[in-house]
Amino acid sequence: MSALRRHRALTRIWASDPGWKGWFTTVNHTDLGRMFLLVAVTFFVIGGILAMLIRAQLATPRSAFMGPDIYNQVFTMHGTIMMFLFAIPLFEGLAVYLLPKLLGTRDLAFPRLTAYGFWCYVFGGSLLIFSLVAGIAPDSGWFMYPPLSSEIASPGINTDFWLLGITFVEISAICAAVEITVTVLRYRTPGMSLPQMPIFAWYALVTAVMILTGFPPLILGSILLELERAFGMPFFQADHGGDSLLWQHLFWLFGHPEVYIIFLPAAGVVSTILPVMARTTLLGYGWVVAAAVTLGVLSFGLWVHHMFTTGIPHMGLAFFSAASTLVAVPTGVQVFAWIGTIWKGSPQLRLPMMWILAFFVTFVIGGLTGVMVAVVPFDWQAHDTHFIVAHLHYVLVGGFVFPMLAALYYWMPHVTGRKRFFKLGETAFWLIALGFHVTFLAVHWVGLLGQRRRIHTYDEGQGWEVINLIASIGGFVTAIGFALVIVDVAVNAAVAIRGSRDPWRAGTLEWAMPTPPPAYNFASLPLIGSRNPLYEDPDLPVRLARGEGYLGDPSRDRRETLTLEIASGKPAYLVIFPKNTALPVVMAFVTGGIFVGMLLKLYWLVPLAASGVAALVARWVWVLGSRHDEGPQEVGQGLALPLATEVADPPGWWGSLVLLLGNATFFGSLLFGYAFLWTVAPNWPPPGYLQPDLLGPVLLLAGIALSMAGIRLADRRLRRGTGPWLGLLLGLAGAGAVGVAAASLLLGTSHDAHAYDATVWVIGGYVLFHAGLTGAMTIFLALRAAAGYVSGSRIGEVQIVRLWIDYTAAVALLGLGVSWLPGVLT
């Protein structure tokens, strides 16, 4: 088979639907990555326009351009859009586009999930933009502190747009994180052991795990605040045993890791591009990986530094101040590793490199002012002034936007297959770099003079006028620079000449394919033995196109890729990806019903939409799998592998495991909130505790035992070739018993009496939801077994259900236990 015929055959198998329909049914990571990036840039433009409105307002004292009502919406939405609708999704888009190509595989682990996440992002983001256009946008600041954001101080719908829109968007972050984690761990090309992975994959892995552990506290906080606003459950009201500081803890428990979730992908980009620009390899690969992991871990220990002025005890301040300064160490290690890399090689000053240098200058300043505000006495003065505004812009623009511009110019030839011809990019570089520094050096300065952040205007005579005017002029220059970048990209993508395949002479696998990339990425998958396969073997792309790797034979007419054992890089099993489908976009739309129902207080719509989602999920899972055993499959190079349907740890099992990590963090945050209110909040203890009767605990323990034993029995019977029915029936009974025990919590307390009752309600609801979920999964499994999808060798789905049942047992025991304990003790 010639390379061209192989290309045609693979394209027919992998291509998205033609025409406008393809936009909605595509599950291809290249398409979805580009769509993600495009939408994220659109939001960046909207956020940028808001930034210009802010600078226009602050350019002169006593400005009559905007009143506080409008200004408060504008700055709240600027922060919200840039953080949630631009920075995180841009990383997701970059990872979705790039990761499979860097890892030498054909798509991400769960292609339909990529699409679902993308559509949730689009719909959730649209909700927020709608509120902005309609003039009812959130106006409590992007970190939404209650009680300012509570029903009492913000009775309108504005805050609900934030809480619901952002939670909707966060679904996409969680989806992407699950996807990236499983892809990096298992979907790589043969031979790519963990130490052989491209450095960006490490950064993406750390970032994804951080999203899974960092976002759940925010999602929990948003749900609690929405429950308070909608149903009067007083989680944040001091009068009823709630505590507004609980929100701050949950928010910054997310918010600080968030800063590193934004920075780490950028660092991954720098670590990838910089060695290529310096014609060498990265200095201290192992050290850099260790630094990224350390940064990820440490970033969870310093959220309190956003709360130094809330009256935290002095010992606490000392601890978090130490942690905040300590986090600069792994950052320092990376910065010096990069500079050492430049020393090691012979650097070339091309446009991506210029952006990396701009990153260095800006980020180092941002890091140093960051260390300054980590010193508590300094922070007590600088907190909530424009000094902080300037600091965070140095970190986020310097540490994220500039590296992303480097990435843009570095990978643009890959996306378009064209060589940059019109050199507007250099002019844009100087406009942005200089404009940015003029703006934010001035903002630092005016902050030190005491200008508070978020004031809608200021009076003459404080010495701020000239500085603010300079900052605004710098801001407009920056904006012109960004506009020029967009023009540059659009023009070059449209009309520039075709470029060569590997214009930067890089060594990583994304350059081992034709550009723009074909739908299937690699005509065959390589066996690699180094971190820069193209340096070892410059002919690799040609050999792959000729089909001289794995899975080069398209004759089975299905979307195939390989998975590896995690550490070693040995091939493990063969995966068949799903075809194009509109299921993700439909499911995202129906999911939207839940959020719109809450938003408009059409509460009947919520359960309706939720059942719709459940039905679509069932459909989603049903179409996978096979009714008969196919045995080992030839994958080329004399190797035969089992299908994913015939192993005990299929992709769905890994996906569940990773999702449960995020879920466990959510539950852990809930228990943290319970303990926090208990020990710290004013107006405790509550008037009375829930008094369990004997029946509840008995049902709980019996339910846990039944469900865990039931699924194990079903598993064993299936493997012996007999029916799983008895086991599944026991499992269902167990789930029912756990559900009844959990429901007793809801019946025993009134949700809006005291923060204690409200918290017990949420814990009970959480356990009840999981009992219902495992019950539904058990019924689904029985249907699958009856239809012949499950057998002694096709046992993976049983393992997935078992994982969820075991998790439910653990959270039920813990959740109901801590809810009953106080009542038993008193």
Binding site: P68, P147, W287, T310, I339, G340, S346, M372, H383, R454
Partner: protein, 188 residues
């Protein structure tokens, strides 16, 4: 701190510029090992840790000095923030409430008990001390001291809604006679 930060910034930038000026370096595994020692262990770990440890110690010592400590001289006042007013009470003059102006004696340490009646505010008199939040359900204590009599501008520094910009107050520090007069109920 600013000088230190500038020095570090210039040092890093100098390293960056030098990287471009010097010629190609030898490429070998041994050379890389040496580089890792210099760049990562030496600069990345050693340099960062030293600077940060020194800074942290400095911060903790300064912070410790700012802590409110009990003493016979200490005057206690109360500040309650609400949208968009401040009202102040005085332990030495029970029942006395002033709005918008906090009266204190000059030259004596003052503990301000800060709380809120509605949303979160922050009590900040830049010339007297750092800021501390007013949080519903909590009383946070801030130690301030004015060396000389006079008016000191104070602002609310936690965003609290549409009236945020004009949510300001004044701290009026009295000399000894003025303070006694204020406590005895005379309008100053």
């Amino acid at each position: 701190m600013l000088a230190g930060a500038t020095a570090i910034f210039l040092f890093v930038m100098a390293l960056l510029v030098l990287a471009f000026l010097r010629g190609p370096a030898p490429a070998s595994d041994e050379a890389d090992e040496g580089r890792e020692k210099v760049w990562i262990v030496g600069l990345g770990l050693g340099f960062s840790l030293t600077v940060l440890a020194a800074l942290l110690a400095y911060g903790l010592i300064v912070g410790e000095r700012l802590l409110p400590r009990p003493g016979p001289e200490v005057v206690t006042v109360r500040a309650e923030g609400r949208q968009w007013k401040w009202s102040f009470g005085y332990a030495d003059a029970p029942g006395r409430v002033t709005e918008g102006i906090l009266h204190i004696p000059a030259g004596r340490p003052v503990d301000v008990e800060i709380t809120s009646a509605d949303v979160i505010h922050s009590f900040w008199v830049p010339r007297l001390a750092g800021k501390l939040d007013a949080i519903p359900g909590y009383v946070n204590v801030l130690r301030i001291e004015a060396w000389t009599p006079g008016d000191y501008a104070g602002v609310s520094s936690e965003y609290n809604g549409p009236g945020y910009k004009d949510h300001v107050f004044t701290v009026r520090a009295h000399d000894e006679d003025g303070w006694i007069a204020f406590l005895s109920g005379e309008e100053p």
